[in-house]
Amino acid sequence: MSAPKTLYDKIWDNHIVSINDDGTTILYIDRHLVHEVTSPQAFEGLRMSGRKVRRPEFTLATADHNVPTMDRDKGIADPDSKLQVETLERNARENNITYLPMSDKRQGIVHIVGPEQGFTQPGMTIVCGDSHTSTHGAFGALAWGIGTSEVEHTLATQTLIQTKAKNMCIKITGEVMDGVTAKDIILAIIKKIGTAGGTGYVIEYTGDVIRNLSMEGRMTVCNMSIEAGARAGLISPDEKTWEYLKGRPLAPSGVEFETAIRYWQSLATDEGAQYDEIVEIKADEIIPQVTWGTSPEDVVSIDGYVPDPKNASSDEKKRSIERALDYMGLEPNTPINEIEVNKVFIGSCTNGRIEDLRAVSKIAKGRKVEKNVHAMIVPGSGLVKEQAEKEGLDKIFIEAGFDWRDPGCSMCLAMNADKLKPQERCASTSNRNFEGRQGRGGRTHLMSPQMAAAAAIKGKLTDFRDL
């Protein structure tokens, strides 16, 4: 019998094409998602060297970063954005790659579209020129973000040259309190291990708390693995995974679905398998989390305070807190729940799925967005939008004063027209609070959809459980 393996070990071993003389591995890539921002130079590279796309049928393209979230019938106003989207459309057409245009209701953020279509399946290797590809790890797929050179390599060879990462297990035990979401859990994890804590590792999330999360919650957790520095995040697939996949357009069907389940079941980490690092986190103490600064590790509980650089553990840490406070326009020791916001962004590949919108609707129902706040809700895909409207959520949002938009990445990274103005302060369900991320000079506080909705209603950061 061979040595016990982790989920990561198994997927890795199942995809080895060959091992190069230098010890690197040529790893087979089962599926490749492509969007407009990180692909034009890759297709250009193929054209210049006369190379073809090896497996166009394993590749799926859609435009998400640059697309407008309103007045779609007028097209894309910004000429550079328009050119980039048109370039993707042309590249897809010339290479026989399926492309979901803005007019298709299946269009959306790549990391929402993949799972929705059943393109994402357990045991697969999945890449995309986008760091949040880690999202797909929620299905027990090894999924990671790559640069444009590797996009080109994948297009040409359906493989990548890789060295194996180390195994980290993050075990989340205990019982979560009511109102504590997947977002709070992953923010608490990043707070604990830091934005470089996962560097060089693939993280497998385990424990009852993860088992009890829905597929969508698991996607939120895996999505932000990159914010913890990890190459990828993984969750062992289970009944919830099969249930989610069943009947999706690209998922296996009939007898083959049963065969696939048996294969997928065999992927779970073996008893006795060794991890290089194990981190345990007790969920019992986690309450809603928000960020105060400009790094995703600048996390604090909603009942906490803005940190004081005087208490920093090192000079370097002190400088970095001072820089963040200056950018964020915050005074040390301010209670977090006194921070006022004038923008709210609900959406992104982290929290733009139907369950997120349902959670927001529960807060929004019968309440009003504070008059000084502009609050946007951007569904992650056209199908999420359709479902929300079918359930009447859009009416609740609009009635409460939220701005209900069309799908895309939107103000998560502000490449389209949706952006913060300098010094605007935003409660956001996205994944990064970097300087300028949501617009130059804009100030971002990351949190769960419920917390962002509550901030919209109160006009300040607030524990939604007290509403």
Partner: protein, 208 residues
């Protein structure tokens, strides 16, 4: 791919930790469909204020660092988005070597695809080099010998660094990854044939 062997140049000390790729190249410059021409937008929002005025205190705006080809930065450099526009803008600006205590994974890999040498040294040494960079005109970086040499107060200094031999070879020889992998096409086809037997559903998808 561009080769890297030896480099002589002055260095910019950038005393910021967790420099993210949004900071290196803000999103408004990601709308290009070309690889070139991004150098002038490197660290754009640190170089210019909101009204477009130069921020004099930022090192890249200071005369003494003009033409620098080395950047000495804080830990976890290049975190965040996978955008290869980050190393493209760094290389296009003329920086061919970065020295930092640590890097984010994707950025680190992207450097090697673009002829940039990312050197890892301990925090203390990096801090010392940042101080030295304020007065030292030239650092010599030799990838073959894995060392950095420079003259400080008339004293010859040498710092050695570690690097993965595979990555070192890639930079020195400027290898074309895709070409090399394509030489293994038959192995890839064999893999596909075997995988199609073991997990046939992966080969059913006549996509959407």
């Amino acid at each position: 791919m561009e080769k890297f062997n030896k480099l002589t140049g002055n260095a910019i000390p950038l005393r910021i930790t967790n420099v993210d790729t949004d900071m290196i190249i803000p999103k408004q410059f990601l709308k290009t469909i070309k690889r070139t021409g991004l150098g002038e937008y490197l660290f754009f929002e640190l170089k210019f204020d909101q009204d477009g005025n130069k921020i004099d205190s930022f090192e890249l705006n200071q005369d003494q660092y003009k033409g620098a080809s080395i950047l000495i930065a804080g830990k976890n450099f290049g975190c965040g988005s996978s955008r290869e526009h980050a190393p493209w803008s760094i290389a296009d600006y003329g920086i061919k070597c970065i020295i930092a205590p640590s890097y984010a994974d994707i950025f680190y890999n992207n450097c090697f695809k673009n002829g940039i040498l990312p050197i890892i040294l301990d925090e203390e040494t990096v801090a010392k080099l940042q101080d030295s960079a304020e007065n030292t005109l030239n650092f010599n970086i030799d990838l073959e010998k894995q060392n950095i040499t420079y003259l400080e107060n008339n004293e010859q200094k040498e710092i050695t660094f570690e690097i993965d031999p595979v990555k070192k070879k890639c930079l020195i020889e400027g290898l074309d990854d895709i070409g090399m992998t394509l030489n293994k096409s038959s192995s890839i086809s064999n893999f596909e044939n075997n995988q199609a037997k073991k997990t046939p559903w992966l080969y059913r998808s006549e996509i959407i």
